[in-house]
């Protein structure tokens, strides 16, 4: 037996195998196979329903609908893609990542997956992973949004030059993309290039972006440029939309102080400090949510703080996540109902109350709250019935009795000639 010859043959086979393996990997593992998957109408309908539920922050229901969609179409990448978005909203990042990777397995060319993964990593502070994912997305799909994601990740890493490069790329793709203008302006702000920052923000305004974020940014840049009188109108506009925003209140105070209006300045600065203290507590609670995403009470705590400062939209969102985590918690649901009322969504508010009462008809506070909303909705008789029902369970409830008495007086006043 010729051992050396056999060894040489084996070696050659191994090398050939290695080369073939490499060729296979290059052509298949990283290739862009399109999934030839066509969704049936019912599955499409389920996906649309899941998207609507996600937009309404009904996370549990959204996941349930997606399960149904998956049962019908197990190879549809859209299902894990949407599921990942739901899981992201409730900060189940690891599971979300797994779903995004499943989507990629089913459809390696699916647009948006790598981008969303990048966003998830950004939110977790894993910026370099985020950048890598955004770059993968760019290989498939060049968008201003993805370049912006890269820019934000670099900014968080303190690498300003790379951040600026990415934002410029975003604007090269879409010269009207205001979020990138704002981000770029913030980087320039940090480098004290206030004039350039102002130009960018004013450009964003010319494209119709005049919301409180832009108003605040312009106002604060003008303060830095010692243009205090020019700054104030912008800051007051921001304050109108964001009465809880301590940076705005603070900058108003500074602008007033430097314009010689010391007494007014002092009032705003004191208010700013009060808001700051609350915002600091909110920031702590946000951190707790990130550390304990599965704790419904931490979520609810954050929602409660946000409600206190008038950030109703965010409060509703966090309560809804809390409900997803603890679906049987009727107190959370009551809070959402109240918040909907505060947001002016009376019908939605009443709907929430009714759902709670279906589960617990003895919940007195809910009967009382619903009655209040019904009165404000011009439905006094239903309100009266709600309050009387409350009194069945709690006959001495002073608040309910007072409400009824007030309603009587109001109606007598209306009935009098």
């Amino acid at each position: 037996m010729n051992t050396i010859s056999q060894l040489r043959k084996t070696l050659l086979k191994a090398v050939a195998g290695l080369l073939l393996l490499g060729l296979f990997l290059v052509t298949s593992g990283c290739s862009r196979n399109k999934a030839d998957y066509v969704l049936d109408p019912e599955t499409l309908q389920l996906l649309a329903q899941a998207e609507d539920l996600l937009k309404a922050n009904a996370f549990t229901q959204a996941l349930a609908v997606l399960d149904s969609a998956e049962a019908r179409a197990p190879d549809a990448a859209e299902v894990p893609f949407l599921r990942a978005q739901v899981l992201t909203e409730v900060i189940r990042f690891d599971e979300a990542e797994a779903e995004y990777r499943r989507a990629l397995k089913l459809n390696p060319d699916m647009r948006g997956v790598w981008h969303n993964l990048g966003n998830n990593f950004n939110r977790q502070g894993k910026y370099r992973n985020a950048i890598a994912c955004f770059e993968r997305e760019l290989e498939r799909n060049q968008t201003a949004m993805t370049w912006r994601g890269i820019g934000r990740a670099y900014r968080s890493l303190g690498v300003s030059d790379s951040a600026m490069f990415a934002f410029e790329k975003a604007l090269a793709l879409d010269s009207t993309y205001a979020p990138a203008m704002v981000d770029m302006a913030q980087v320039l702000d940090g480098a004290a290039e206030y004039e350039r920052a102002l130009e960018l923000v004013e450009r964003a305004m010319r494209f119709g972006h005049e919301g409180p974020e832009i108003q605040y940014l312009i106002g604060s840049l003008l303060v830095k440029n010692a243009r205090f009188e020019d700054a104030l109108p912008h800051l007051f506009k921001a304050l109108e939309a964001w009465p809880w925003h301590n940076p705005t209140v603070y900058n108003i105070g500074q602008a007033l102080a430097r314009s010689g209006r010391q007494e007014e300045a002092q009032q705003y600065l004191e208010k700013a400090e009060s808001l700051r203290a609350t915002e600091a507590t909110i920031a702590e609670m946000e951190q707790s949510v990130l550390i304990s995403p599965g704790d419904a009470y931490v979520r609810a705590g954050l929602a409660s703080l946000l409600r206190q400062v008038g950030r109703y939209d965010e409060a509703v969102f966090h309560y809804q996540v809390a409900i997803h985590l603890d679906p049987e918690n009727l107190e959370f649901q009551n809070n959402v109902a109240v918040l909907e009322f505060l947001r002016g969504n009376n019908a939605a508010s009443i709907h929430w109350f009714q759902r709670i009462l279906e589960k617990d008809p003895t919940y007195v506070d809910v009967w009382m709250n619903m009655g209040t909303v019904l009165v404000k909705s011009g439905r006094p008789e239903e309100a009266r019935r709600a309050w009387h029902t409350a009194l069945q369970y709690d006959p001495d409830n002073q608040a309910v009795l007072a409400n009824l008495a007030r309603l009587e007086l109001t109606q007598q006043g209306q009935a009098a000639p």
């Binding site: 990283c30 702000d189 603070y250 900058n251 002092q266 700013a272």
Partner: protein
């Protein structure tokens, strides 16, 4: 000889290919490069640093945090250091805070205070026992030096986690007199202290910051990663206001915190510095607070202070947010002639730089000064302004190091041990961090806390001392070779306090005007040399040297020769201090 079977060869090939595949598309994470300290080479800046800790005889020191696994909040805060001439021989001695232990800690704790006598030859000798600094049972934090009894030797105040201590210097031996002097205070977590003559009556009063209400029993559970306990941030604790003591002139003090208008205040103080920002002749205080608004106490000249931090613009960042507020210093950093304040902050917070505009208003120039962006990701504790290259303007040294050992797991771009920043001033208040260029020990990541400066080898340039948390001290000798000249001034008051604290000294060289202040405090938990050093560049004399003493007396001298140490006694001609000829500027 190892012989692979044919199957084995195929297996190896597959494994190699798999490894190649797995490493193909991952995002890269990078770690900070740990660069070994290389011997410093001459560079364009004309100076370099050498870590002479061992050769100076300081290698035996280690700060103890006294941990035993419970991750207690004070373990993260480190301690301070100080330069003090305890024996009055003209050579700067070194005073280090040893930290402490908690009752359950198995660690051996030898000395709360480590005093090293300067031998005058670049080395130090440990002298705590002979100086009376033994048997001190406490958990120490900071030191601040001042001749509070005006008897000609340097005393010091020692802040701790419990009652503070005042060490009176009796001819080179220290006696603890905190209680009898009335400055021990209750058992509370204190921070930086400062001697200053608040009422300009000729003796040194005392202020010290306090941090948070904390005991072992009330230590809270916090976690960065939801797996293991980490150090909490101060938001989770209630703050304690600082305390202000007026010197009675007889070796005792009376607390006047309330009468001075200094409470209520949010507490969580970490740094304090004294200056006269509005040039009214009365010493003011800047107090930095951790996650609370910084305080600017304007001295009203009548025993009271008015707090104007928020109105003046120094309490918060530009968006009205509080920051960590650790080390602090003040000085004139540009040609405006106005005071600026620099404040050390947390990671993802810039070092703050505020310049006085007039009318009790400051402008945030952190970004404009180019300090901000560079300092964004580092966490700074010790911080001070010094003319490191003797070119006539104030540069800035920032001693860095994080508080959370697990920070690298949870925050990309942020590290636990960090190298310092050395910002060189271009003369117009614009700074560049040249630590990476200067190299040597400035490249080495450490977990720095207290930092101070002084010309310990009396060669005319400024050396740096840095204390590490749970680690050694670092003595960085400045080896200046650019040929720049200096003038060192030590003051002695007669009507004013003997140290001359509060004296403003202005040196004019042609059109160039420089200003320094004789004072204690600044940085973090630390005390720097109180003699002031002017860098003169290539100038061989100071045209006019003016001393504005705290009592309003003004001394002016002309054509003061460079490269000498002068003792200036209030109202008298300068005295040239004898120096060792072998220790002149050129190394």
């Amino acid at each position: 000889m190892l012989f692979l079977s044919s199957q084995g060869i195929r297996l190896v090939a597959v494994i190699v290919a798999t490894i190649v595949l797995l490493t193909a598309c991952n995002g890269a994470t990078s770690e900070p490069e740990q660069t070994e300290a290389t011997p410093p080479a001459s560079n364009q800046f004309g100076f370099s640093f050498v870590n002479v800790t061992e050769e100076a005889g300081l290698g035996g020191f280690k700060h103890i945090i006294g941990d035993y696994g419970d991750v207690l909040f004070p373990e993260s805060m480190g301690s301070g250091c100080g330069f003090i001439d305890y024996n009055g021989d003209g050579w700067l001695d070194i005073l280090l805070v040893g930290g402490g232990v908690f009752p359950r800690s198995p660690q051996k704790f030898e000395y709360a205070l480590w005093l090293y006598r300067n031998n005058g030859d670049g080395t130090f000798t440990f002298v705590s026992p002979e100086a009376g600094l033994v048997g001190i049972d406490t958990y120490g934090l900071g030191v601040t030096v001042g001749d509070y009894d005006n008897d000609g030797d340097e005393d010091f105040y020692f802040t701790t986690l419990y009652e503070n201590m005042l060490f009176r210097n009796d001819g080179g031996v220290f006696v603890e007199v905190g209680k009898e002097a009335g400055v021990a205070g209750p058992s509370e977590w204190s921070a930086s202290g400062i001697f200053f003559d608040a009422d300009r009556d000729g003796d040194l009063d005392l202020f010290h910051g306090n941090y948070v209400k904390w005991t072992i029993e009330t230590d809270k559970y916090c976690s960065l990663n939801n797996r293991e306990k980490g150090y909490c941030t101060p938001e989770t604790y209630e703050g304690i206001s600082g305390r202000f003591y007026v010197n009675n002139g007889d070796g005792t003090f009376t607390e006047r915190t309330k009468e001075a208008g200094m409470i209520p205040s949010p507490g969580k103080n970490l740094g304090v510095a004294e200056f006269d920002y509005n040039r009214d002749g009365w010493p003011d205080l800047i107090v930095t607070n951790d996650t609370q608004p910084n305080l600017l106490w304007r001295n009203n000249g009548d025993g009271t202070f008015t707090e104007i931090g928020a109105l003046s613009g120094i309490a918060y960042d530009e968006h009205g947010k509080t920051r960590a507020g650790m080390g602090v210093d003040t000085g004139v950093i540009d040609k405006s002639g106005e005071e600026s304040i620099v404040i050390a902050n947390f990671s993802r917070e810039m070092i703050a730089v505020y310049r006085y505009l007039g009318n009790d208003l400051f402008q945030d120039i952190s970004a404009r000064s180019r300090v901000g962006r560079i300092s964004l990701m580092t966490l700074t504790f010790g911080l001070f302004l010094i003319d490191i290259d003797l070119d006539g303007d104030l540069d800035m040294y920032a001693a860095n190091g994080h508080v959370q050992p697990q920070v690298e797991e949870t925050q990309e771009g942020v590290y636990y041990a960090e190298p310092p920043h050395l910002f060189l001033n271009d003369g117009n208040g614009m700074f560049e961090d040249h630590a990476p260029d200067i190299g040597g020990p400035l490249l080495v990541p450490v977990v720095a806390r207290g930092a101070c400066f002084g010309d310990y080898d009396r060669d005319g340039d400024i050396d740096i001392l840095v204390a590490e948390n749970d680690g050694p001290v670092h003595l960085l000798r400045n080896d200046l070779v650019n040929g720049n000249n200096f003038l060192k001034i030590k003051t002695r008051g007669k009507q004013v306090n003997r140290d001359g604290y509060g004296t403003r000294i202005v040196a004019r060289v042609g059109d160039h005007v420089m200003e320094r202040r004789v004072r204690g405090g600044s940085s973090y938990l630390a005390h720097s040399e109180t003699a002031v050093i002017f860098g003169l560049g290539q100038a061989e004399k100071v045209d006019t040297l003016t001393l504005y003493w705290l009592n309003g007396h003004v001394d002016t001298f002309t054509n003061v020769q460079a490269n000498q140490e002068l003792l200036i006694i209030e109202g008298e001609e300068p005295i040239v201090m004898p120096r060792n000829g072998n220790n002149l500027a050129a190394n």
